[in-house]
């Protein structure tokens, strides 16, 4: 939790990782991809404040202690949501698997929410594995990475008929939240791998599922916003927006936030640090202090303390049924909450 000027913020980091990209985890013959991937991530870290940069060696494989300190001790995070990314073509044990995340989730009960993943190209075996993961870990969400390379294929879309089987399975298993990350490759390669129209289609076909588009569809925020404005179950995951722009490009950060607040709205935006690309501390402090820098932003929706409380935690708490202490809820929300509890107590005996 974070407190500033008497205001209390409950923080859900809805997009973070515990990866191993060290050299001994590189698949022989695919070293250039494993190296290229982690170096690309490391360049992104360079867009944050200089004092938060890590040497590449630490960045490749940080420790459990680093994560617990950066995220919870120093980072104000109350609940962190692990979003796995497998990349087993390049990383022997996977880059950031459900199993690896589960080591921490099981060791520190109450701190983490453990999401899993699926890939429609894995057919029936993948469906079975999804079911096993949900039963074993109680997952309520999945992270989908459509640009994952697999057996010569460089990606898939949610329009693939096989993907529908997996989404149906998610509903059956009680998974509600589908986090989607697009690009930079796909099948076929001539199409724009960042295109979000497949999310549009899936969100329409599966209205009971929530689709959280990570990195707000960057680099296609315009496509994402046109789509999200029409789909009540589409959310904007802010990882990379805050980490990549707030410090490096504050004016563009303000413009992008203004557009998101206009098209998507403050009730459907969720904070994610993308740790370990960026530490959450500076992002949370910066967002709480943030407002539009000047008059040219006057026709964007206003940013209030309530806006920031929703973005930093309350919206994700709703998606994941996380109980938020009453003095961290919005005041009118807290009021309603009390009323609701009162009603249920009265009704319970009947």
């Amino acid at each position: 939790m974070y407190e500033k000027n008497g205001e209390k913020y409950y923080v859900v980091d809805s997009h973070m990782h515990y990866w191993n990209a060290a050299r001994d985890n590189w698949v022989p013959g695919a070293e250039q991809y494993a190296k290229g991937w982690i170096e690309c991530f490391h360049a992104y870290q360079g867009l944050g404040p200089a004092e938060t940069h890590w040497p590449i060696e630490k960045f490749q494989k940080y420790s459990e202690g680093d994560l617990m300190k950066d995220v919870f001790e120093d980072g104000y995070v109350d609940k962190a949501i692990f979003q796995p990314t497998y990349l087993k073509e390049w990383y022997a044990e996977g880059f950031n698997t459900t199993e690896r995340n589960a080591i921490l989730a099981e060791k520190y009960p109450g701190k983490f929410i453990l999401n899993t993943r699926w890939d429609p190209r894995e057919g029936d075996a993948g469906l079975k594995r999804l079911e096993e993961n949900v039963k074993r870990y109680g997952c309520k969400g999945v992270k989908l990475y459509t640009a994952e390379w697999r057996n010569g294929s460089r990606g898939w879309t949610l329009k693939d008929p096989e993907a529908s089987r997996y989404l149906e399975k998610c509903q059956e298993l009680g998974i509600r939240n589908i986090h989607v990350h697009k690009g930079p490759t796909i099948w076929p390669l001539d199409k724009d791998a960042f295109d979000v129209s497949d999310v549009d289609q899936a969100a329409t076909s599966f209205p009971a599922l929530n689709f959280i588009v990570e990195h707000v569809g960057l680099p296609r925020i315009e496509d994402f916003c046109f789509m999200a404005t029409q789909e009540p179950n589409v959310y904007a995951g802010l990882s990379v927006v805050i980490g990549g722009l707030m410090h490096a490009r504050p004016r563009f950060f303000a413009k992008v936030m203004g557009e998101l607040l206009f098209w998507v709205g403050e009730d459907k935006m969720t904070f994610g640090s993308d740790y370990a690309i960026w530490e959450p501390k500076w992002q949370i402090e910066g967002l709480v202090d943030w407002n539009y820098p000047g008059d040219e932003f006057s026709d964007y929706p206003r940013v209030t303390t309530a806006t920031k409380k929703k973005i930093l935690g309350l919206n994700a708490a709703k998606l994941y049924d996380i109980e938020v202490p009453i003095d961290y809820q919005l005041q009118d929300q807290a009021g309603r909450q009390e009323a609701a509890v009162g009603v249920s107590e009265v009704e319970a005996p009947a």
Binding site: T185, L189, D190, K191, A248
Partner: protein, 244 residues
């Protein structure tokens, strides 16, 4: 005799289709030289190892075409460096192969549709660049709906908008409407106007935010100065980049 400056001028006409900016001002030209017997050598580099291969292919192929057309260039070598698909793209472009040949089995079509889709984005972004000063100067949004291009004060942004519209086959003469749907060419009426202007604005912000992020990642990758890098490939600086 042809020198590197002619080749650079040709490269100035090659744009990153996704960002609608010349590859020269983005800093993507790492090296450029012409030998005495007319062999032009160009090396390109991109912000990340995993930049989308379709756009990378277009830039390499466009660079090849632009440089090959320079008077006095007898042979052209364009090499994309440090990219996961470098070898495939470089060999394919050198062999004048199309995208579907280079990525056999992985691509269905050539890249014309992709290029057109991003030209339409460039038109929308350019619409905001041209309209925003008019709105700031006090024009009412409704006034813009009836305007034609000839009524807009001359500017580099207006020239750029006309040029992108022409590339798409959209009307770009003085009597063409200022506001039109880039997909259909139909003029925007008063009713659709507010949404159209909003779309134009977010499309511009998207393209420009992507361009600054690409610059920042490029600077991180190649450790040049952070910020908006000056055009790297100007003739007076080419020596520093390895001109023989």
């Amino acid at each position: 005799m042809t020198d590197a400056s002619h080749v650079l001028a040709a490269l100035d006409t090659v744009r990153d289709p996704e960002l609608d900016e010349p590859i020269t001002t983005l800093g993507f030209v790492a090296f450029c030289a012409v030998s005495q017997d007319g062999v032009a050598e160009v090396r390109l580099r991109l912000p990340t190892y995993f930049c989308a291969p379709n756009f990378a292919f277009l830039m390499v192929a466009d660079a090849y075409d632009a440089v090959s057309a320079v008077d006095g260039v007898a042979r052209t070598d364009v090499v994309l460096e440090d990219h996961f698909a470098s070898d495939q793209i470089n060999d394919g472009v050198a062999a004048r192969a199309g995208f579907t040949q280079v990525f056999h089995g992985e691509a269905v079509e050539e890249l014309g549709q992709l290029r057109a889709a991003f030209l339409r984005k460039a038109v929308l972004a350019g619409t905001d660049r041209v309209c925003r000063p008019l709105l700031t100067a006090g024009a009412a949004a409704e006034d813009l709906a009836g305007m034609v291009l000839g009524e807009v004060p001359a500017s580099a942004d207006l020239d750029r908008l006309r040029s992108r519209r022409t590339e798409l086959g959209l009307p770009a003469e003085d009597d063409a409407p200022l506001l039109l749907d880039p997909a259909t060419g139909a003029a925007i009426g008063a009713e659709a106007l507010p949404l159209h202007l909003r779309r134009a604005r977010i499309t511009r912000i998207s393209l420009e935010a992507n361009a600054v992020s690409c610059r920042d990642l490029f600077a991180q990758r190649y450790r040049s100065s952070l910020g908006d890098p000056e055009p790297i490939a100007r003739p007076d600086r080419v020596g520093a980049l390895g001109l023989p």
